[in-house]
Amino acid sequence: MMDSIYLAWRYLNYNKARTAVLVTCITIIAVLPIALEILLNESERQLSLRAQSSPLLIGAKGSALDLVMNSLYFSDEVPETITMDAAQQVMATDLAAPIPLYIRFTARDFPIVGTSLDYFDFRQLKIAQGELFAMLGQCVIGAEVSQKLNLKPGDYIVSSPETLFNIAGVYPLKMKISGVLAPAHSADDLGVFVDITTAWVIHGLGHGHQDVTTTTDSSVILKKEVGNVTANAKLMQYTEITEENIDSFHLHGDPADFPLTAVLAIPYDEKSGTILQGRYLKKEIPYQVVQPKEVIDTLMANIFKIRTVLDAVIMIVATATLLALVLVFSLSLRLREREIDVIFKLGCSRATIARLLSAEIAIIVCMSGLVCAGLLVLISYYDQMLVRNVFM
């Protein structure tokens, strides 16, 4: 048997390209359905887990799925905004604790999550390095953001403009990293967390600039009236909030009217949650309240249907590929007819010839099995990260 394996190995080694193609094809056939199963199960687990731990979401009427995906998984789909007033209303009911969320902007492709410090307690997020943000303009980054961008407390990260060529838009804000979160194995690992007020500054609702009342540079003053000074575009606006210029930062307008994408409402008990939901059933209320778990369960049911279709497609592709492999192998046997004739004439039995050919198939299958096992181990090991980066 060892001789058969040796000869088969020499043949496969000599025909490296053919062997590589066969191994690749078999590996893909084997890995694809299992990998998809692993990743779908993990995505289902992650979606469900986070949804279960998020009792109620209040947002603008519209797509409940967009609201949940944006608020829980920081997806790109930004729902219609509500105002900070919605959070204050929840607080006023004394039925739940509100956590404001404004998830719209990004910094180097990672979502900026404008929220309050309560968010960290609620999600039980631990600081691995540094500390939580204590000042306007500071941010706390998730573990994967830190790892991928090689950032640590004391470093800076700049918010990305929503549109590159919007020269009339707001300036990017250079944010100082005050802390890095410990890995949470959830969407929080990919977030850049800032205070809700910092998120409004990024939006352009607040800003800091030279003090126009004390400046000696008259060229920046457009008009000076009693109690009001109008500056022109030469006035320097700050793109970074520091201890020196923080006092110059101010919001324009009533914070109650400032935008939020959602309010995460944490009912004090089950009854309070039910009552709170009841209050949002009235048609005249411009908000909706959703239970993320229900939304995700509906999504899962759809994914399950898609998975069935996907499985069928994979089966068809796998069958077609297997047939192609059988064809390739039978064609290669035809090419080797002379070789088989020679070894038969030398004195090799038909059983030994069959053993030689079987050894080749066995080696190819074993090699595919090894590559397959290696890939599946890698996929299983990195499934949480893959799901967060690819599926969500």
Binding site: Y6, Y11, Y14, V342, K345, L346
Partner: protein
Amino acid sequence: MLQLDSIDFRYPTGDFHLSIPDLSVKAGGKVGVIGPSGSGKTTLLNLVAGILTPGKGSVTVDEMKISSQSDTTRRDFRITNIGLIFQDFGLLDYLDIQDNILHPYRITDALKLTGDVRNRAKILAEQMGIADKLNSHPPELSQGERQRVAICRALLPGPKLILADEATGNLDPKNKVRILDLLFRSVEKHDATLLAVTHDQELLSYFDRVVDFQDFLPGEAA
């Protein structure tokens, strides 16, 4: 060494018919077999090797009546006692020269691949002048070198009979004589008997004896 008695052979399909009343070759003999295409020269080699069995008559090689043996016995006898040299050499491109020479030992349980066999293979390769090619593959060798590898493979198990089917058919005249000379010397050195099919009339003088298949053809064809 070799005795064929009253051989009558037909393939299951077609009109081919081979009849050999009597043919014997003494041990150590170098016999050339000539004849027109389709006269049955290669069939003769296949009958002697036990690859084919006659409908009637008997084939005896080294006192073994192989025509009446089972397929397994004939196969084991062939690989241990008969060396085959093919017109196209029958070397495997994916094996290096050393593995090609050792190949018979890897395809049967009747031969055991030992350290001694490996040493003999190296000595044979040295004698044939291809010792420096042991790690090369057949496509990297010249026709003459490949022929020598085929001879090495045939001689390694120490066969008593060598069957060569147009062994010099692909060579130029100069190399034909050289390779035939090499084959003769190898056969003599290993006390083997040679039965070689050839088309080449110029080479017949090198053989001890020549069997003309014209003699075995039915009257009209002859």
